[in-house]
Each structure stands twice: as structure tokens, then as C-alpha cells.
């Protein structure tokens, strides 16, 4: 069983569209994250949720909205996609004081 799974793996879409990436973890962790790996390969945190509560919200356009229906799920909705949103998005989870477990990533290409 995959510990942190995210779908889709690849997402190709037109500028201006709205899209969602889903993430689920079966590790029983309390905290989930979204990271973005940009063209320079930096892994930067976007959001962190602890038990469905937003903990970290880095400087991210408000077109990006995370939604956590329960502590095992953290979805990422992106409105009005722009070319600069093209990147690889990673979901991750951790237990308090513990290491991060990552999903396999979603490669988003905005045309």
C-alpha cells in the first residue's frame, strides 16, 4: 500500500483553467503538506495542515487553496492557472517531530 498517494501524476492544462490535485495518506499522521518544486529544483513549502487546521501558509497566490476534509486528505485547488504555475507539486505527511513522507509528485504543465 502506498503511504502517501497523490493524483494525478501528470496534469496538462490550458492557462486560465481551474484544476485540483488530490492527496491521501494512510500513515495516521496528523500533519500534511504541499510542496512545490520549481524549475530551479528548489522544494518550497506552500501549506501545512495539522488535524485539518491550517498551520503554515507561505507566500502563495490566493489562487491556490488547500482543502482538508479530514486528517488523511489534503487536496490542492488551483484557480485561473498561469504559465508560472508549471512545476512539480509534492504532497507529504509527518507525525509531530518526525520525518516527512512524500507522495510521488504531480507534474503540472500549463500551456
Amino acid at each position: 500500500d502506498t503511504a502517501v498517494s497523490q493524483t494525478p501524476k501528470y496534469l496538462v492544462t490550458q492557462m486560465g483553467n481551474d484544476k485540483s490535485i488530490k492527496c491521501e495518506q494512510n500513515l495516521g499522521h496528523d500533519t500534511m503538506y504541499w510542496y512545490k518544486q520549481d524549475s530551479k529544483k528548489f522544494l518550497k513549502i506552500m501549506f501545512s495542515y495539522n488535524n485539518k487546521e491550517l498551520i503554515i501558509n507561505e507566500t502563495v497566490p490566493n489562487r491556490f487553496s488547500p482543502k482538508s476534509p479530514d486528517k488523511a486528505h489534503l487536496n490542492l485547488h488551483i484557480n485561473s492557472l498561469e504559465l508560472g504555475d508549471s512545476a512539480v507539486y509534492f504532497c507529504a505527511s509527518s507525525q509531530a517531530g518526525g520525518k516527512l513522507f512524500f507522495g510521488s509528485g504531480t507534474q503540472l504543465s500549463v500551456l
Binding site: K41, S48, N50, F90, A92, G97, K99, F102, S104, G105
Partner: protein, 113 residues
């Protein structure tokens, strides 16, 4: 401002020899450090970690050294194997600070047969 730096974008090592990957950080509040390994088209996977109360942690072929006064850590892989070829990310966090893991830009290791 980059709080976690990996100044070598790439490193090539002969199979069987030692690989040393370096990482520097600027935030003295960091108290938990991790190394992740990433293959293409996969998510980063955890390799080894070290708490700031230690200066060394070993797990099989992998050893992480922490020098708090220099704000420097290094990952030693010995002996290096071709399957170790990947991108290695250093990460740091403040355990009581909401678990914001800050990553370095990564070092691409190539182990040559």
C-alpha cells in the same frame, strides 16, 4: 534568503569510494536535520536524520555528521554504489516551530561503475 544551502550542484564518485555531500544552514534555531534521496519522477524518500543534540548518526552505509558551531552537516556514503546515483536534498526544521521543513537545492550524485 536561502536558509539551507548545498553549494555543490553535482558530484561524481567512483563505485566503492566514499561520497561526501555537504550542507550549510544559517538559522541557528534549526534542531532537526534530514537527508532525502530523490530519483527522477519519484518523490523524495527519507534517508537519515540527526537531532541537534547529536553530532553523528549512522545507518548502514550512510553517516550524517553535524557541526553546530559551523552550522554544517555532511552525509557520507561508503562504499558508494551505482544505485546511490540520485539527487540528495538536505532539510532542516525547528521541531517546535510547526514542522516547517526547509530544503536545500539538492546535489546530484553520480556513482560511476
Amino acid at each position: 534568503d536561502q536558509q539551507v544551502k548545498q553549494n555543490s550542484p553535482s558530484l561524481s564518485v567512483q563505485e566503492g569510494r566514499i561520497s561526501i555531500l555537504n550542507c550549510d544552514y544559517t538559522n541557528s534555531m534549526f534542531d532537526y536535520f534530514l537527508w532525502y534521496k530523490k530519483y527522477p519522477a519519484e518523490g523524495p524518500t527519507f534517508l537519515i536524520s540527526i537531532s541537534s543534540i547529536k553530532d553523528k548518526n549512522e545507518d548502514g552505509r550512510f553517516t550524517v555528521f553535524l557541526n553546530k558551531s559551523a552550522k554544517h552537516l555532511s552525509l557520507h556514503i561508503v562504499p558508494s554504489q551505482p544505485g546511490d546515483s540520485a539527487v540528495y536534498f538536505c532539510a532542516a526544521s525547528v521541531v517546535e516551530g510547526g514542522q516547517n521543513f526547509v530544503f536545500g537545492p539538492g546535489t546530484r550524485l553520480s556513482v560511476l561503475p
